[in-house]
């Protein structure tokens, strides 16, 4: 084969790959939407789980997931950004700091279920919190933390050296340089990372199932001490039922989760625009 023919073949293969990816995405969404179409209505969004598929709803699960999102963000964002600032701006450039930094970065690749097992031992049993919103929020915050750290560090590192030098040269203290120039310049990048961390974490079912999320919660959580319920675990529970009606409920729950995550992404988009 001539090199030119090889290139043509590769080009065709790439185009095929793109087409397949698009088809897969459309098929996935299409199947979900078709199934969910008859299910998602006001009654479904506001109602509680029920033994009767026609009456079942995801109200408590939505409330649970919103709680988890807030707790995860409140716990992991400040800690993760703070740690990123420490590693990028303050930590001595020695082997120990480098090792600690990359160990934490590798935590971002640890499967969510592992965090679930740790959270079960640490929060549910160790601290005696039981399978509550708080225990789940703490677990998800641990899950989000490495991603927040890694993405924030990258964003901080991308701030040009000249900006730091100029700010220092104008008599700003180290903290003023960070607070007034480096963090604002890194802002859009940090927000992107926070969004990624939050959406990945809040959508995970595995850690919540390991924590012992009950299959049947009919009351929306009002405080973090209430029993755990969330959209991903609700979708899982209904998907284990064999009746077609419940499969549709699972699809409806999945679509609800997707819309929530999409809203978070849109909010992040607006925030990034503002920060720029």
């Amino acid at each position: 084969m001539t090199p030119l023919a090889t290139r043509d073949l590769l080009g065709t293969a790439c185009r095929l790959g793109a087409a397949l990816t698009l088809t897969a995405a459309i098929a996935l969404l299409g199947v979900l939407l078709v199934q969910a179409l008859g299910v998602v209505d006001v009654g479904f969004l506001a109602g509680a789980p029920s033994r009767f598929a026609s009456r079942a709803g995801v109200g408590p699960a939505i409330a649970g997931t919103l709680w988890l999102a807030v707790l995860t963000a409140a716990l992991s964002f400040p800690v993760g950004i703070g740690a990123a600032v420490y590693f990028e701006e303050y930590a001595p450039r020695n082997r120990l700091a480098g090792l600690a930094g990359s160990a934490l970065a590798n935590m971002a690749g640890v499967p969510p279920v592992v965090f679930g097992v740790a959270g079960l031992a640490l929060f549910v049993r160790g601290m005696g919190l039981g399978p509550t919103i708080l225990a789940a929020g703490l677990t998800l915050a641990m899950l989000a933390l490495p991603t927040v750290l890694v993405t924030s560090r990258t964003a901080l590192r991308e701030v040009p050296r000249g900006v730091r030098d100029a700010a220092s040269a104008l008599g700003a203290t180290r903290w003023q340089v960070i607070r007034r120039q480096v963090l604002p310049a890194a802002g859009p990048g940090i927000v992107t990372g926070l969004t990624l961390a939050l959406t990945r974490t809040v959508g995970a079912a595995a850690p919540l199932l390991v924590l012992g999320a009950p299959a049947f919660v009919t009351h929306a959580p009002r405080t973090p001490g209430d029993i755990l319920t969330a959209l991903p675990t609700q979708a899982f529970t209904w998907s284990t039922r064999t009746e077609a009606d419940f499969a549709a409920l699972a699809a409806g729950t999945a679509v609800t989760l997707l819309v929530l995550l999409l809203t978070v992404n849109l909010g992040a988009l607006v925030l990034r625009r503002r920060l720029r």
């Binding site: 030098d165 700010a167 220092s168 040269a169 008599g171 700003a172 180290r174 003023q176 120039q181």
Partner: protein, 265 residues
């Protein structure tokens, strides 16, 4: 904040003969061979000193050492002494941020901050707790560098909208806004067209007197035209220092003569 540096505005100014800034035995290492080796040099009050020398001779390193900017580079080790208005800048109780407010530097690679002209000018004064009228201050320093009229008094103009020469002058203006006593300029006219370079040159002339100016440059013509005193650095050593006219027409050192005439030693 440190009291080790007395405020030149309220404190007693030294007799005119004493230099405003004075380096003694200044040595800077970045690991290996010193980038600056045992340099002793006085900077007279209100005068313009040019630092000349080939690339890598330590001009920038000396500028950074004079305002304690080298310590932002983890590998840098500085020894020796720099005295400003009689106070030792490298004394342990001296706050480097305070030093940089008295001795302002415009580095070649220093970037403008994203945002408006005002944002760039206001940053330094705000960082040092300036309580006066920031707009009046901005107008004053922008006028001093000839930018006020050029931007039509529009402080909200994004800094990125300025030309290269205007940006260079904005960098100088925001440094002036901190009201330094000494202004260090690294390659102030490099990579500018002749007109923009000439504006910078006349700006340097107009600033001297109020502040002492140190210009590090590899542009010998700029050094000859703009400075009162010229110091020649080579491989981190101070080769020769004297009145600019003397250094350029009748250098004492063979190395300086060779450098000025473009002969490679």
């Amino acid at each position: 904040m440190s009291d080790a540096l007395h405020d030149p505005g309220t404190g007693t100014p030294g007799p005119p003969a004493t230099p405003v800034l004075s380096a003694t035995g200044l040595t800077v290492r970045f690991g290996g061979r010193p980038a600056l080796a045992d340099v002793s040099l006085d900077f007279p009050r209100g005068r313009i000193v040019a630092l000349i020398g080939p690339s890598g001779s330590g001009k920038t390193t000396l500028l950074r050492a004079l305002c304690r900017m080298n310590e932002l580079i983890p590998a840098a080790v500085t020894t020796g002494s720099v005295r400003f208005e009689g106070a030792e800048l490298y004394a342990p109780e001296v706050d480097p941020a305070e030093v940089r407010r008295r001795i302002g530097v415009v580095l070649r690679e220093s970037a403008l901050f994203p945002g408006s002209i005002f944002h760039n000018v206001a940053f330094g004064p705000r960082a040092s707790g300036f309580a006066g009228d920031l707009h009046a201050l901005a107008e004053e320093v922008l006028a001093a560098v000839g930018l006020w009229a050029e931007v039509g008094g529009d402080l909200d103009l994004p800094a990125s909208a300025l030309s290269a020469g205007q940006r260079r002058r904005l960098c100088i203006a925001r440094t002036l806004a901190v009201r330094p006593r000494v202004l260090l300029l690294d390659e102030p006219a490099s990579a500018l067209d002749p007109v923009a370079a000439a504006r910078i040159e006349s700006l340097i002339h107009s600033l001297a007197g109020d502040v002492a100016v140190v210009v590090a440059t590899s542009d010998l013509r700029l050094a000859a035209r703009v400075s009162d005193v010229t110091a020649h650095l080579d491989r981190g050593e101070l080769v020769e220092c004297g009145p600019t006219g003397t250094v350029f027409t009748n250098p004492r050192s063979k190395r300086t003569e060779a450098y000025l005439t473009g002969r490679i030693p």
